[in-house]
Structures are given as structure tokens and as C-alpha cells.
Amino acid sequence: MSILTIERKVLEKNDELAAKNRELFQHHGIFVLNIVSSPGSGKTSILERTLEHLKGDLRVAVIEGDVQTDFDAQRVAKFGVPVVQIVTNGSCHLDAKLVQDAISNIELKGIQLLVIENVGNLVCPANYDLGEHIKVVIASTTEGDDKPLKYPAMFRNASVLLVNKIDLIPYVNCNINELKTNALRINPTLNVFETSCTTKQGIDLWCAWLEKQVESIPSMNKLSR
């Protein structure tokens, strides 16, 4: 019997590709978001409100990840931004390779913000670095207030929590303070915004924060602006 000692990360290959993506984003001065949540929390709606709000301020491109259909890409394309749909055909998450392939179909020059909408799933996408700068996790009030405790990895890896559908608080069993407290127990450094895509409440604060992050990226785009 012989034992081979290797000590390697199982997802090392993904991490290497993610590092390459990150380099490319850095090179073009693009700030990149990876939006994650369970299905139906409002990822695409948040994106629509965000694109609407940022229109004219930032040049944005979008990568849509879904298990099936290009419905989301069609919704996003209405805002006149470049969008690439990744259909994972059953896979429960995006990985760095899929994103690498997708960005080869986008003219990155001039883009300031790239939004990657991950597959709706609070578990699997947590393990796969795509090369993004930050993960944005969305938890909607209709899902209750215990999601952060049930899916800690996603909340630990995120930089932003958007508490969405706050207009529905009177009708659902969700204590929003409890939700935020739970999330901060897992990750005390989370930036938290409360949003509603119906009333548009909070979208302005979230977008203002986002614009600040984009501006903080050393950017070739900024020089040419």
C-alpha cells in the first residue's frame, strides 16, 4: 500500500479560472457583481430596477445564469444593455468556466459594471468563485427570517444583503430585524439594504452605494470618460 499526499483544494481548477476572469476584469477596470439568492427572491427584478436607476450613469453588461430558458435575458435586454444568457442545462450553479465562455461573447471595452445573475439556489453557488469583486445575496421577506441561519455559507461569502419585498412585510410572517440580526451573526461586515421592486423603495440607496464601489475601481474606462 502506498499513500500519495496531495493537499489540494478540490475546486482548485475553478479558482484558477476565476483568478483569470478577475485579472481580465481588472484589466478592463470593470466592477463585477455576483447576485445570488433562492429562486423567486427577486434577482432579476432587482437587476431591472438597478438598470433603470443607473441608466445614463454607468455602462453595464449582464450575464444571466439559468437552468433553462432565456426569459431573464429577454427581460434584461429591454434595458438596452449587452446581455449573455448561460443555460446550465440542469447544473445548479455557475462556475468560472461558464463565465469565462460568456465574457468572450461580450465587448468588455467601455463596460464599467458587469452583473452576473447566478442560478437561483442558496447552497451551491457559494462554493464557486466566478472572479467577481463581491457577492450580493438577496433574501426576500416572503422567505421568512431564518434563511441566513439555514444557508450560512452564502451569507458569509457575501458583501451585500438586499432584504427584498419589504412592501409585503404586513402580509408575511417575517421579522425583518430578526432577519438582519441573523445575517449579521453569520457575517458582521454585511452591508444591508432594504428594497422593494414594486414601490422602488431603497433602490436609490443601493444604487448609490453600488456607484461608489464602481468608482473605486481603478479604471481605464474612467480615464476615457
Partner: protein, 120 residues
């Protein structure tokens, strides 16, 4: 559910490190998996068995070492563990903590059986 992709990555790493003629003698693959890595060990074992069943790696089984979630508190300089993945110090409750372990998803060792000696 991504245990299947993770299992595929494990197979790739085995294939990279073990020469092909030895694949059918791989008997144990040791992994270190953190408490908050988001991996269900039983599901990973099942996925690994499923994708290796009809292959040269069919004798391989996973041995998973569990790594607890540990944090170090910068306020009271104490190391504590908890099962929930809370970033709060278990002693003083401070949020000024640093994660020490718990997110591992590593392959550490591959055990290969000796070739059977052919009887003459």
C-alpha cells in the same frame, strides 16, 4: 446538489496524480471538509460512487475528515468553535473575529493498494 460537480473534480484530481495503470488500485481518497463548506458528506459519497461505479476507479471510496468551524476573537484573544457558523465570539460575543477553519473542501491523500502478485 453540486456534490456531483465536486465529485467530478475529485475524479479529475485523482486522474492527474495517479498514473492510469494504477487507477484500479486506488482504494481510499481522503478529504477534509469544513463544517460550513456547504457539502453534505453522504451526498458526496453517493455522487462519487455513482460516477466511478463503471470505471477503473470503482474500488475507490471517500474518507471524509470533518473540520470544525473555528474563529479567533480579536477582542478577547480566544479561539472558539460553534456549529452554526456564527462569527460571534463564543466567549465575549464580539463580532471582531477571524475565521480559522470550517470552509475547507480539500483532497489530502490518495491510498493505492499494492499490485497483486501473479502466482506462477
Amino acid at each position: 446538489m453540486h456534490e456531483l460537480s465536486v465529485a467530478q473534480s475529485i475524479v479529475e484530481i485523482i486522474r492527474q496524480h495517479v498514473p492510469e495503470p494504477d487507477w484500479d488500485r486506488v482504494i481510499v481518497v481522503r478529504l477534509k471538509i469544513g463544517a460550513v463548506a456547504g457539502i453534505v458528506p453522504e451526498s458526496l459519497e453517493f455522487s462519487f460512487q455513482a460516477i466511478t461505479a463503471e470505471s477503473l476507479l470503482s474500488h475507490a471510496r471517500l474518507e471524509i475528515e470533518f473540520v470544525p468551524f473555528r474563529i479567533h476573537c480579536n477582542t478577547c484573544d480566544t479561539k472558539t468553535e460553534n456549529e452554526d457558523g456564527f462569527a460571534l465570539c463564543g466567549k465575549c460575543g464580539s463580532t471582531d473575529t477571524k475565521m480559522l477553519s470550517g470552509s475547507e473542501l480539500n483532497i489530502s491523500e490518495i491510498e493505492i493498494a499494492e499490485p497483486e502478485v501473479e502466482m506462477l
